[in-house]
Assembly symmetry: C2
Homo-oligomer: 277 residues x 2
């Protein structure tokens, strides 16, 4: 493992979280505010890019599922080149860089080039979806595991809900990029013996102002997902933790709430000085 | 699903993250600074409790694995009672409240009592461990799933690594509270055909100043874990994402780095005003 020295790292991989600026970590905000160049994914919303000081160079490197405006090789090369120029570099990725963020490819390129890096974790979409809906992804005795699965197969292969472990009754599954896989998930779980009445929870744009929550039955899953606009980022939650909530009614649309700059009114109390004892 | 109105919620469940104050979300910090009462788990370190203004009442409700200083029923009752008194209440939990945080029990009590709540997500220990070691929990084509599993069985039952899905070659597993389960994991994976040379990564106190990283072989897993102090919170990482790093050497101890209060020098640039277009 390469030593990862925080403040000295030439490149900071920073998790942007689900898109709400208040759900950035404090360290992520610090890195954005002290960068010289920020390379960001297309999925990072402008509310977060707006936190970067105006004199900082912002470079979008695209990266939506199935639509890469810049190939991975070029991103790697660009990272190395800018780091060698001595720029303080932030590589900003949606959610958590370590979860469906293709971190490994870029880290590998930096290591080969001898460029130091650090990783600043972010709130992943499944955590944001759980928080938004108020559910726990784990339940004592009922859901002792939680798994994050991608519904988007890079190699074009079909999504297999059974092989992906979705059928285990003791697991909560959060499926990222669930849209294309939804018909397979619905058919696969029904033929594996799940009831058509099994509950599923769809969270679109989790943690953003335009968040959408849809509770649906398994037999209506594809239809419910198809009703969402194409550009909505979708997390699908399945399992005992969801079924435990069945007394309650579907809530099709969350009323958008205003997002304010989070730290303008923040006070630093006298006790906030942090020391290692 | 109950409507969760942010600023109006009587109780805020707040994720404290892995323990480093800089890994709190901005919203978590806001909630801590505007609370009247904070009920916190024993695992939340004093660096984070130190961010709460001095006039705020701090109540420790214990909760370490196997050692509850306050039974769950009493915590529930206390939450409801304090909320009804009109206190702005924060229920501070280590990591992410929705992942091994026993959120459901407390939410259920609040719902029954008609008390409104919100959940502020936190960085879960597995994300912190991944960031600290620089690995990606998912790998294109190799690790399309990541799962978080608890090694601590509430009902005293034995941990079964096969039933817990640890053997799937395409999954990355992060085992929380792995200490007691380590001998079972080692024996179970070896008898399931894993090589004794398979790599495992142990991260103790991930994201804290006293963080420890140990890379070990599967056949030395129990011994490596047993060498850690009993009070170290342990995350164990297993799977293809870990094996992909085998060229590198073990790094037994991370040099502690100083943690500074993160927002004292934070500037709010002109562009940081966040508006929903």
């Amino acid at each position: 493992m390469s030593a990862i020295r925080r403040r000295e790292a030439q490149v900071s991989f920073v998790g942007a979280g689900p898109g709400d600026p208040e759900l950035l970590t404090i360290r992520a905000l610090q890195r954005l505010q002290s960068a010289r160049v920020v390379l960001h994914d297309a999925l990072v919303p402008r509310e977060i890019l707006g936190l970067v000081p105006p004199d900082v160079r912002l470079i979008s490197v695209g990266k939506r599922a199935g639509r890469h405006s810049m190939p991975q090789d070029r991103i790697n090369t660009l990272l190395v080149r800018l780091a060698r120029r001595g720029h303080r570099l932030v590589r900003l990725k949606g959610g958590d860089p370590a979860i469906f963020g293709r971190l490994a490819e870029e880290v590998s390129a930096l290591k080969e080039a001898g460029v130091s890096y650090e990783v600043v974790p972010g709130i992943t979409a499944a955590s944001a979806a759980a928080a938004a809906t108020g559910i726990s992804l784990t339940l004592r005795g009922k859901a002792r595991r939680v798994q994050f699965v991608t519904g988007h197969a890079e190699d074009g292969s079909d999504f297999d809900p059974v092989a992906s472990g979705l059928c285990d009754p003791h697991v909560t599954s959060a499926i990222y990029m669930a849209r294309k896989a939804a018909p397979k998930i619905q058919a696969g779980l029904l033929s594996a013996g799940w009831s058509g009445e099994a509950q599923a929870l769809i969270v679109g744009n989790a943690g953003r102002a335009d968040e959408v929550q849809i509770r649906t039955r398994l037999d209506a899953l594809s239809r419910s997902l198809a009703a969402l606009p194409r550009e909505t980022a979708v997390i699908l939650l399945l399992g005992a933790a969801i079924r435990g909530e069945t007394r309650e009614r579907a809530k099709p649309l969350n009323v958008p709430t205003a997002v304010h700059c989070p730290f303008e009114n923040m006070t630093v109390p006298g006790r906030s000085r942090v020391k290692i004892p």
